[in-house]
Amino acid sequence: MKKAQFNSRWMPYALLMPQMAIIGIFFLWPAAEAIRSSFYLEDPFFGTGTFVGFENYSNVLTDPNYRRSAVFTAAFTLTVVFVSLGLGLLFAVSADRVLRGQQTYKTLLMWVYAIAPPVAGLIGVMLFDQHIGPLTDAAAAIGWNLQIGVDYWDTAVAITVVSAWKQIPYNFIFFLSALQSIPSSVKEAAAIDCRSETRRFWTVTFPLLAPMTFFLMILNTTYALFETFGTVDLMVQDQPGNSPVTLVYKVYRDGFRGNDLGGSAAQSVILMVLVLVLTIAQFRLIERRVHYS
């Protein structure tokens, strides 16, 4: 068999260049810049400042408020991932079973995904508004004085609900397509072997969905950690006050609002390491249990 070969040994590198350039300019260079500035306290206008070593890091890591944000972010991410994955799967299984009007159900469940995150945040703000929010009124009816922006836990609930709601359709689309790609021969064989539908789901269908679930879990974690920024910003109405905020929002707040470039860079580097560790852990621990074929 004849091997396809390049005439020049530099050709492969030349073809790789555009991609490498993009990675270099948009990922590696900013990351290196973040690491560099995390060791300085800089004047934002001139970029001149004092080298402070690890002071920015020790400052962040000993700050009880940073720890509070970190705890919230962890709890928030776990809740958003499990709630949106769970409900996405539930709706997908239900829609998969519906025979008549399936298209309508699907469209209805999917269209939330067409909403841009800031708009979702805005809708969330209105639903939970202290003065006109229907959800606030509903909570009042059961004796819950829900006040976002005032009570820490109320705000946490509202941010979590809106963020999870936004992600359900995304998971729904992927789960539905995964469900539909399960061969009917497998389902029929399972139906002959076992009468219980629930049991069939957990022993046959769910393991077949595992690769998809794993993929979605990584994407949902990234979503909850980073992409909920717009939602958080809108829900706290630009004034975090005593409200819970995610770590990414804190990076933005300190760096872009407060012009503390060094402190913000140190927080970014910590997040970078966190994501790295998380991704490695997910691949090492969970992927072992996932079977792709």
């Binding site: 306290l41 800089e42 004047d43 934002p44 206008f45 001139f46 970029g47 001149t48 400042g49 004092t50 402070v52 400052n59 408020n65 202290q130 003065h131 006040q147 976002i148 922006g149 005032v150 009570d151 706290v236 109405q237 630009d238 004034q239 975090p240 006050g241 005593n242 409200s243 707040r253 300190d254 872009f256 609002r257 407060g258 012009n259 503390d260 060094g262 402190g263």
Partner: protein, 433 residues
């Protein structure tokens, strides 16, 4: 010789011709959205039409923080605008960056435009000045916290608007009985901290409230009065005499507009918007003070923002900026701005003009802010200058919410604010090398 003269004359004629044909263009980044943005455009249009040598283009850059961040990014890329609007809490950042801005006073004098700092109202002129009193920023939208009250609500309760917090305590239960939440406010750090200190003439920070330098500045050296105030707020909140709706401005203003809250502490600049939003008669009075703390309350200082001339532009553009500042401070423009927005006029001439045309006979509420700014001042009522102040305000908002919700005492909260605030100030000092 003759040839030189001819050349020079031709050159001058060419310059004059060029100036006529192509005006010097300058840009102005601002943070005034909505209706305020319209008024900003109107001012720019007025300036452009008043002469043909200069042309200013206003650009809306989002909120105050967005505008400052955009300016910093542009400055580092060498593409900064000529004029930028920077808010009170960002003043230390932009003034502290030596060489980023041309002091307004120098700019105007170098352009040969007549300037007298005494033309400006006292409460206004010091806030954006350096420790020698030289004006660095040109005050633009200046406001100060005042007390708005729903006239019908106070009549229903049979009470007069309070001058002091002691009076408020006495009348609040009657207002509550009349079916209203007696009081709300929209900005705890601004109204109940910065201006609380100013009104009672208590030091807000060492080093003359931070004006004399960043190194070693410590925030809130005396907290007895303000601690007592916040303990009262928590008690009033518990008793239903004070409504707290979070750190966001609008969430606290809405219940006043809806007629649920009888008295609301907001900005004198809120007047224009309130007038359009409410359908009940309302009036305004001074920010109350504690008689137990002082018997001679001092003025409050301005909030809002100032215009800064960015460095790194050719001389002709700086001249254009100076001419614009002069136009902006002229009595007619100030009066128009004052009437349309509710922000206070920044010059004495504009204030006198508003009095002359009888504006305050018509809408006496519009005068409250400027009267309060013109009250006798004290050593500690000229303003403050602190870095990383946006974060310090965030710390205050967080701690105050916990005090008002009854989660901690004011004393505990101020311990945290002082510790975190001083740490931030210390860190800010290190960025200034």
């Amino acid at each position: 010789m003759l040839r030189n003269t001819i050349l020079a004359a031709t050159g001058a004629a060419m310059t004059a011709f060029a100036a006529h044909a192509e005006p010097v263009e300058i840009t102005w980044w601002h943070a005034m959205g909505g209706q305020l943005g319209e008024t900003v455009n109107e001012i720019a249009k007025g300036f452009n039409e008043s002469q043909d040598a200069y042309q200013i283009t206003p650009v809306y850059k989002g909120g105050y923080e967005d505008t400052l961040t955009a300016t910093i990014a542009a400055f580092r890329a060498g593409e900064q605008p000529n004029v930028v609007q920077v808010f009170d809490a960002g003043a230390a950042t932009i003034i502290g960056a030596k060489g980023a801005v041309v002091p307004a006073e120098d700019l105007i004098q170098e352009a040969g435009v007549a300037f007298d700092a005494n033309d400006y109202i006292d409460g206004v002129r010091y806030f954006y000045a350096d420790s020698d009193g030289k004006m660095i920023g040109m005050p633009f939208n200046s406001s100060t916290p005042i007390l708005y009250y729903n006239v019908e609500a106070l009549e229903a309760a049979g009470v007069e608007p309070p001058k002091t917090w002691e009076e408020f305590e006495a009348i609040a239960p009657q207002i509550k009985e009349a079916g209203y939440t007696p009081l709300a406010q929209s900005h705890l750090p601004w109204i109940f901290t910065e201006n609380f200190m100013s009104r009672h003439n208590i030091p807000f920070a060492t080093n003359a409230n931070g004006f004399e330098g960043v190194a070693g500045t410590e925030i809130l050296p005396e907290t007895a009065a303000i601690e007592a105030h916040f303990d009262k707020l928590a008690a009033w909140n518990e008793a239903g005499l004070f409504g707290f709706y979070g750190a966001a401005w609008g969430a606290n203003q809405t219940p006043f507009e809806n007629g649920e809250v009888a008295m609301w502490l907001g900005s004198s600049g809120s007047f224009g918007g309130l007038r359009n939003a409410v359908d009940f008669p309302f009036s305004a009075t001074y920010l109350p003070y504690w008689e137990g703390v002082t018997e001679s309350p001092t003025n409050t200082f301005i909030g809002g923002a100032a215009l800064f001339a960015m460095a790194g532009h050719p001389e002709e553009e700086n001249t254009a900026t100076a001419e614009f500042f002069k136009y902006l401070s002229s009595p007619d423009v100030q009066l128009m701005w004052h009437q349309q927005t509710g922000y206070v006029p920044i010059t004495k001439a504009a204030y006198e003009k508003a009095q002359e045309i009888g504006y305050y006979d018509e809408v006496p509420q519009a005068e409250v802010g400027i009267q309060q700014l013109s009250l006798p001042g004290g050593a500690w009522s000229k303003g403050y200058r602190m870095g990383f102040y946006v974060q310090i305000r965030d710390v205050m908002n967080r701690e105050y919410a916990q005090v008002i919700n009854g989660e901690k005492s004011a004393a505990e909260a101020f311990e945290v604010i002082k510790a975190e605030g001083n740490k931030l100030l210390d860190r800010f000092a290190k960025t200034m090398n």
